[in-house]
């Protein structure tokens, strides 16, 4: 008897153990850096290793990198400590650390944070990000950056972060399928055929007739619509406004699923979705941004895919994946932060090197235009096509204005909630209700959900 009760007791307790938490709030006022003296440890929070690799490779002050890769020692003895948490847990861990930011020793404070577009607003609005002018970076230093990427992180007229890379999106298509369906694989002609959604649908029907799929699944075109919304998901911390653009995505995806224009993969980055990009795939194309084409697609397509892909702008400009480096409030390393930020987002020569070596689309209009005009900067994978030229046409037209603090949750929940609707398991109203339930669970403060008429 006792065993049973203690078993039960422990079970309840285990669930309970997760629930302990306490917190601190954030202020709306712009935070400041601790300028009194330069600390000995720079703590950098990242969701992936890119920034670390760039600093280790291009920062001239680097003395050595520790064996486990967690620390980089600079020539003046300062240590850069890399704290890397994957996207899944990044915010949870960061929030825990930020709560202690005001109380821990200077060398334990977070100094630099890498924030993705889906949640950069959350931290800007919480007063975590120090204005660049406070650490000595002037507007003149930032003059070559893409203005739209600067605008997002501007609070009260002050720029509070730097994007090291820009991620304009393109439509990557298979040349062999394009030839079969449209009779040409020339990027200009394909673009002409896919210039708007109506034309895109027509090509989808033609592709289906030939036994191909136009897109892989439900989430493929999502970002092309969500980046073109008229307003943010949430603007008053209370009401979720579903934009007509999102309804268009739902309508289109339902149509594509019912008509057999897509391969019914439930989300991007699933096993089935990546397989659709391999040699056996029968999908016409994928909406992808810079990193997606240079790294993900190249990897998924494999050797057989070399030369069989090309890119065009597609029906609408979009981006996928943007991130900003920010200086955290109370940081005690303003001088080093200034150097690192300038190196990765202002220094023309270094940025050119980064762009050429790593194929990153760096945040420098001059550098990228130069590469775009260079006839030698084609990519073998794309059959020699100069994709940078197209990317740099799209980059200035990206609209970051509707980024809000709730983007990540809204994106995840709308894609998942409507999956069953696309498959025909539930009705449109049931799917709407499923989204409402999910979003209210995720953000308890969002109580009203408004659907467009």
């Amino acid at each position: 008897m006792r065993k049973k009760w203690s078993g039960l007791f422990l079970m309840g307790l285990t669930a309970a153990a997760v629930l302990t938490g306490c917190g601190g709030g954030g202020s709306k006022k712009l935070p400041s850096a601790d300028m009194s003296k330069e600390g000995k440890v720079i703590n950098v929070c990242l969701y992936q290793e890119d920034t670390k690799n760039l600093v280790n490779k291009y920062y001239s002050e680097v003395q050595e990198v520790s064996e486990d890769g967690e620390d980089t020692i600079l020539k003046d003895g300062t240590k850069i400590h890399w704290i890397i948490n994957g996207s899944e847990v990044f915010q949870t861990k960061l929030d825990e650390m930020l709560k202690k930011q005001d109380t821990v020793a200077a060398d334990d404070r977070i100094d630099i944070i890498d924030l993705e577009g889906d949640y950069v607003k959350k931290y800007l609005e919480s007063g975590v990000c120090v204005p660049l002018s406070d650490i000595g970076i002037t507007d003149d230093d930032l003059k070559n950056q893409y203005p739209n990427a600067k605008e997002v992180v501007t609070v009260d007229g002050k720029v509070c972060g730097v994007a090291t890379g820009i991620s304009p999106g393109l439509f990557a298509y298979r040349r062999s399928i394009a030839k079969d369906v449209l009779g040409t694989d020339d990027p200009d002609k394909v673009q002409e055929a896919l210039a708007d959604w109506t034309k895109f649908d027509e090509v989808a029907q033609k592709a289906k007739d030939k036994g191909y799929y136009m897109l892989s699944g439900f989430a493929d075109a999502y970002r092309v619509f969500s980046n073109n919304m008229a307003g943010p998901w949430v603007s008053d911390n209370k009401t979720v406004k579903i934009d007509p653009a999102i309804m268009q995505w739902i309508e289109m995806t339902k149509k594509y699923t019912d008509a057999g224009y897509n391969h019914k993969t439930t989300n991007v980055f699933t096993e089935d979705w990546m397989k659709d990009q391999s040699a056996e795939g029968k999908v016409f194309g994928f909406f992808y941004s810079t990193w997606g084409i240079n790294f993900t697609l190249v990897g998924n397509a494999g050797k057989e895919g070399f030369g069989d892909w090309a890119v065009c702008k597609g029906p609408k400009p979009f981006y996928w994946g943007a991130s900003w480096l920010v200086a955290a409030k109370n940081t005690d390393n303003p001088k080093h932060i200034k150097e690192i930020f300038e190196l990765l987002s202002c220094d023309r020569d270094t940025m050119k090197k980064i762009a050429v070596d790593t194929m990153t689309f760096v945040n420098n209009t001059e550098v990228m235009n130069e590469i775009a005009e260079d006839p030698n900067s084609g990519l073998d994978f794309l059959g020699g096509q100069n994709h940078i030229a197209l990317f740099s046409e799209v980059a200035p037209t990206i609209n970051y204005n509707n980024i809000c603090a709730y983007d990540q949750g809204c994106t995840l929940d709308i894609i998942y909630s409507f999956g069953d609707y696309f498959l025909g398991n539930i009705s449109l109203d049931e799917a709407k209700k499923a989204f409402e339930t999910a979003i209210k669970e995720r953000y308890p403060n969002l109580t009203d959900i408004v659907w467009p008429d």
Binding site: G12, D95, Y123, A405
Partner: protein, 305 residues
Amino acid sequence: MTKKRKEKKKKQRYYRKWGYIFTLPFFIGFFVFFFVPLASTVFYSFYEYYMVGLMEVGPNYVGFDNYISLLQTELPKYALNTLILWLGGFVPQIIISLLLASWFTDARLVVHGAKFFRVIIYMPGMIMASAWAMMFFTLFSNAGPINSLLMTLGVVKKPVAFMSSVLGTRILICFMMFLINLGNSTILLIATIMELDLDMYESARIDGCSHGQAFRKVVVPLLSPVLSYIVITSMVSGIQMFDLPQILTDGQGSPNRTSMTLIMYLNRHLLGNNYGLAGALSVYIFIVSAILCFFIYRILNKKEE
């Protein structure tokens, strides 16, 4: 004499003290890591208390509001899902376990390589549940090996979307549960049967009972303490079911939340850092599991009396 006795008593007391001292670390750990969080869970279940980003709301006392608002959600559906998934795994598990135990312990039915098979049966339980879920997710995906196999064999023409159908997803989860737990209960039953005094079983066989009859009428009743142990532990882990459906459905309980268990629902609220509502849900789960356990314990122990 009396003095001696007193001394002896003193010594006894002295020894007794050590018992408490040695168990103290457990109780300190229990208090700090279990009792305090439990108490705070119950405490916060009466408060509106959540975090959105770095913004903290509450704690504001709201009485039973959290409990009431949970009843207006699809909570009963998730409870039913949990029950279905548990039964779907447990019923075949206990039947097959008994069957295997009966075969392995039947003196007249000599199973060759019994030890080998026992190890094989136990092996699935040694793999992490999360690894199972990942493996099944890949195996049964639309472009996965199972679909390729079925198509190559000509069983189906188009890939079967196992995880898009309610039945498919539930069967996959139940099957994994079955595989993971089968070994444990089989070994436990075999060990218990081998410990039993089987005179009655032998005499029943001599009187003309078949093995099956003797097993059902003689051995199974003798096994009831172990069976009740298996039912209770399985039920407790059934109510806690989380990792298999969570990973298989990417936390969504898809399709349309028909494989969302109670703890997965709890996890949804933890995702929203909603300590108040999650606390209330935990208290519900606690009460329900206590009641269920009480009944099953009563039913299983009645026979013995």
